[in-house]
Amino acid sequence: MSGSLCSGLSHLLIAVVIFESLAGCLPNLQASQRAQADALLSRCHPPRDVARLSSPSVPRWVGAGIEAGIPVSLLSMEAQRTAAQIGFLDLPERSSLKQDERRALAMISLRQALSNRIALVVSDVMTTIAALDCEAARSDHLANAIAEAHQDVSDRALFAVLASDIFIGVIPGALMLSGLGIAAEASEVFGGVTATSFGTVDTVLHIDQDFRHPHNFLRELWEGPPESQLFPPVVWKFLNDTSDQDPDRTVREVLIARWRTAGLGDEPELLPDAQGHPPLLLGEGGRYGPKALRMRAEMLQHLRSEVLRLGLSVHLLKYELTRWFDEQPVARDE
């Protein structure tokens, strides 16, 4: 009798020890420290708000166009559209330059002015893309870190499930061979309960993390103010111009319509809730799970692709302007 009591106690002790060790193996239900730091403080700088540069002439200049000095209407339709977007004004009454405007220095000056303006637009596009890329990478990095933490917990839980086979197989087997049938069955029941408990961990496990994004490009795009604090003026103008996919809507509206309808499913809601609180993706940040983070990164990538299209259009315009300048006869300066 005392022997079986000792045996029972020793089994119980073994079970407690194994459980303690398994509990010790379970990691913290949080993303890694390195990911948390990146989540709370953005290292991504949005493009500079040129209207707030201390140089007084810039804000006035930004809203102005350049009288291109060339007949813009001679360019292709796409190039004309881009020219209008970046502020090259047409001179419809002029089919070609006047004699005094074809002087070498005037032509060089004009060419420089247009090249510099195009370089500035390309620079605007690149800084916007860099900022969007950086924010998307922040989201992806945190999503990866949460996936890592999730994987760690899942691995340990799975190991615990498989280790429960000690109670279902090894201990009952040994007990059976020793003729302790009831103890063997009790051990099997215990092992089954343990395995089931750990097995459910993966399905109920949800790790999220506070993620801050005070400079929110998605909110800016969603709200569509007349002047953007985040997008350079030329990029903002392009986003609010007619889309080539749908002449009745702007690029911004087409993108938003795509996000509204493209199978959000169980993903985070984009519309404000009943109390009027902005949804997670359009606020300044909050508790993000991996799905919301991936969704944010994807939306930023969509936006990036649209901004890149402006870069491609400017590329085409640059080709057409270069060809036009190269074809012009230049009068010598006196």
Binding site: H45, G63, D124, G169
Partner: protein, 401 residues
Amino acid sequence: MAALLRGGLAPRDFDVLVQVRLGLSGPTATGRTSGRLKHRSLEFFTSHRRLSYKGKIAKNVPLGMIFCSSIRPIACLLCVLTLEGCVTGASSMARFRFEALESRCTGPTIEQLTALPALPVLPGSEEHSPDDMIQLSPASSRLAKLLGLDRALRDLSTLQRDHAANTGPSSEFLWRNEQIMDRISLASFDVVSTVTELDCEEARSDHVADGLTELRQDKQERGLFLALVGNALIGVVAGSLSLAGKATAAAANAILGGVLSTGIGGAATIFLSVDHDFSHPRNHLAELSEAKEFSPLFPDSVWRYLTTSLDRSEETIRDELLRRWERDGRLGVPGSEDARRRETLILGAGGTYDIRDLRVRAEMLNHLKSAVLQIGQDLNALMYEIMAAQYPLTAMGEVPQ
């Protein structure tokens, strides 16, 4: 009916003394016999006649004999699965082995990029006052000085004032303007080429990390399958044996299944690690960790931007990055063994990386890339300010709304 075997048994064929008891209380026959263990029933010959038993094997039968017979097919299955796993693993590794050992991201040499002389001084420009310089924001002013454009911008301002009084831009003005814009454009290319290389290195780390993750997943799936085989031994095989009245074999199978399931399960989950050699002889992170005046990896404009203090705090972008990485524990807890190992690995020429090390490297490169891109934003602002000052009245009009 039971067969009691005495003496040693060879794994397969045996030649031993046996005692056979017929019935629960029947007579016992003893004699020397030989035979073969077959399908968990004992088939043997006595010295008088052939007898075949399919009864319960007594407890004193060595377990090794039972295991030998029952796990042989499973052992074969395990061997086949393991071999198959090795083959698949090797083919997955081949995909990123080249990428891990040899970088495809090499940029132009810095000697080529920095072989640019200072801007020539315009005749008579020594007299231009520093106050003549185009009015710039503090960040743009700092960048203009860093790129060596401050004198040229003073010249431009003076030349512009002169030509405003006349009819059009002078050739000196256009020449100076072209020089300034060329320098800005070169600095932009410096940024782009640095970012491209950093981006490429980041992608390289991520690709190998993705490859290792796939490999880990494959190994884990295989391991888990074997662990499930162990579960089958406990449930299906042991249960069937138990129903067939072979309790000892059932218990033995359950023990075997439990050990197999726990052992292989552990190897497939918490003890599973995959790593790969990864080399990076051109290491921008190592370059950043050392304070020096010139860098052989970064273009001069980029390096000077990273190592010049931003404001009166005297902290440079490089200092800020290094401080942030330390605070965030990128390399591990400072002073720990893990931190030393990762520091040697990430700030060296390469070594054996696991998935997490590769992800940390990619993240650090991404941070450095963001820092370099700040120059692009400052260049963008500088261009705005120069152009706004340069073309204020000549050829502009309000954009029609």
